[in-house]
């Protein structure tokens, strides 16, 4: 009897295609694992019937000799930021509790068309605002990982795609969707010992994804290895006329193009990322990553990204500014929560609804965004931040003169404990210091496991590539994966 929880996307797809097992068997096994993992709180809604229905359709297609899709028979988790027709979509907020979309997001529709099935909607930071999955209205997601000190302190799975990272690391699903605005795929992947790629801005349609900061939001796959990420990204990506920033380009055959021979590739090591007081474990992992890429044939060069230290402050102006505008739609009139205090008028209803429906971090970011866009402050904050953003993108452009890819840590530390950073918003923001620059520049970036910390927790290596060069990013990720020998898994305590 096959243990389906151990199989990745490629193994399930190939096993179903070759008739080694039925898609329905996989769906049943993973439905059970999801149902038995409530302690992790990874799912907001479970949809076992959807997983079974998709699997049965794949089995029927195979029996009828029809061609199967790229993800045929693979049950996945769907971050609850993607609108799913007929299934509650909340962005982990109270204001959207009970919202049942009457349409399907483009990315999720692409995945169902490719033969994937939905195990359920995954928990996340509310409106994708957070780095630890502690801002969800539906409670914290608990990482399956624990430190090797014998204690059982609950650790953050990263954020905002924390339900996705936990579900994959706990082997509840082989893969899940994520979205990345300032690190929300890569940092949770790093914290839980899995892989995840944010493609070039515009590769995946934003249509039907609950908007946070539209110039930064980008969907991508999270899975247990690089090949699985390549397969799923192929299924997710593609031109969509419904998204005005969607790139009208063919989707490359990333899986077929995988090649870990990096001869002729130059890997840039950005000196500004070597912060004073960098964590010893992170520094050692980074050195290992450099050695692995050299071993794969790459040449390693020093590069400079001089505006790196300004990326986070620029991000924390631009993202809240866009959020304050995007989240203006939650007004208690057309969908979602309405709070109408006795005898109040329209304006009071808006204010009461939004106070009751948005969590603390979301309210904070809307207010910062409103402030930096307000009359008298717009130029000093917002325009200045957009100019700095242009300089950050230019830093990368100049670096590409001497390198093809950049290697850096994904996050400055291993997973922290739940509650450790919630009292100080700034200390939480600083966790995204290495992830945000690639987001601001719209570049493809991936996190792959790079080793374990002294505490026995996973650490992630980040590869940043040129715009549209996901293939080189995936290839370097594969080269690391083949050399890192990372096989650690979270023990099953839940």
């Amino acid at each position: 009897m096959t243990d389906f929880s151990k199989l990745g996307v490629a193994a399930i797809r190939d096993g179903v295609a070759n008739g080694e097992f039925k898609a329905v068997e996989v769906a049943e096994a993973l439905n059970t694992r999801v149902a038995n993992a409530k302690a992790l709180n990874a799912f907001i809604v479970e949809t076992p019937e959807k997983a079974l229905e998709a699997a049965a359709a794949v089995d029927a297609d195979r029996a009828a000799g029809k061609p199967l899709g790229k993800m045929a028979g693979v049950p996945i988790g769907m971050k609850d930021l993607f609108c799913t027709e007929g299934v509650q979509t909340t962005a982990a907020s109270h204001i959207l509790e009970g919202f049942v979309p009457t349409y399907e997001s483009t990315v999720s529709a692409n995945l169902w068309k490719a033969g994937a099935g939905m195990l359920g909607k995954l928990n996340l930071d509310q409106f994708a605002m957070g780095s630890s999955n502690e801002t969800s209205y539906f409670g914290n997601v608990i990482s399956p990982w624990r430190r090797n000190d014998g204690g059982n302190a609950a650790l953050a799975p990263g954020g905002s795609s924390g339900g996705s990272s936990t579900a994959i690391a706990a082997r509840l699903c082989p893969a899940a969707t994520g979205t990345d605005t300032g690190g929300s795929i890569r940092q949770p992947a790093a914290f839980t010992g899995i892989s995840g790629i944010k493609p070039t801005y515009g590769r995946c349609s934003r249509w039907g994804i609950v908007a946070f900061a539209s110039s930064l939001d980008q969907a991508g796959p999270m899975a247990r290895d690089v090949r699985d990420c390549a397969i799923m990204l192929e299924a997710m990506a593609g031109f969509d006329p419904k998204d005005s920033t969607s790139l009208d380009l063919p989707v490359p055959a990333w899986e077929a193009g995988l090649n870990s021979d990096l001869k002729g590739k130059r890997i840039g090591i950005p000196r500004e990322y070597r912060l004073d007081g960098i964590d010893d474990d992170i520094a050692a992992m980074w050195d290992n990553g450099i050695a692995w890429l050299k071993d794969a044939g790459a040449e390693v060069v020093d590069v400079s990204l001089p505006h790196t230290k300004y990326a986070l402050p620029a991000y924390y102006i631009i993202a809240p500014a866009e959020a304050s505008s995007n989240l203006a739609r939650y007004d208690g009139v057309r969908f979602g929560l309405r709070d109408l205090p006795e005898g109040s008028g329209l304006q009071d209803m808006y204010a009461a609804t939004r106070a009751a429906g948005f969590g603390e971090e979301v309210r904070r970011r809307i207010m910062i965004g409103t402030y930096v866009l307000s009359a008298g402050f717009y130029d000093a904050y917002y325009t200045q931040a957009q100019k700095v953003r242009a300089l950050i993108a230019r830093d990368f452009e100049q670096a590409w003169a001497s390198c093809d890819l950049i290697l850096a840590p994904t996050a400055p530390s291993a997973a922290f404990g739940l509650g450790e950073k919630t009292s100080d918003p700034l200390s939480m923001y600083l966790n995204d210091v290495f992830a945000v620059p690639a987001s601001l520049a719209g570049l493809p970036a991936m996190s792959v496991p790079g080793g374990l910390s002294k505490d026995g927790l996973p650490l992630g290596l980040q590869i940043i590539g040129k715009a549209l060069d996901e293939q080189a990013v995936l290839n370097a990720g594969l080269a690391i994966e083949e050399r890192s020998g990372f096989t650690a898994e979270a023990g099953e305590w839940w």
Binding site: Y316, T370, Q384, V388
Partner: protein, 95 residues
């Protein structure tokens, strides 16, 4: 630049978010902490730099001038918290 409690209340009003007095007090400190940190952007020399408008060069497309959707009233109203017939219900606006 730093904000005081009056400014916080004004931002909350502009944001259409009701806040209590205690929340406004707390928010003064939090917003000032974050704003003091983002001020460091002021030290960057941006002479001659255009603010970024598109992260990946992309032309806005024009589509054919034809009707592509509509006739989905039930879907549009399906999630309305206070539907009135075929309309969104709101509290009385004009006395």
């Amino acid at each position: 630049m730093s904000v005081d409690k009056d400014t916080v209340n004004k931002i909350a009003r502009l944001s259409r978010i009701a806040i209590s007095d205690a929340e406004a007090d707390k928010m003064v400190g939090e917003l000032n902490g974050i704003l003091a940190w983002v001020e460091q952007l002021g030290e960057v020399d941006v002479t001659g730099v255009e603010p970024m408008t598109a992260v990946i060069a992309n032309k806005l497309r024009l589509r054919d001038d034809v009707v592509t959707d509509g006739d989905v009233r039930e879907k549009v109203l399906a999630n309305a918290p206070a539907r009135e017939g075929s309309f969104f219900g709101v509290p009385k606006v004009i006395e």
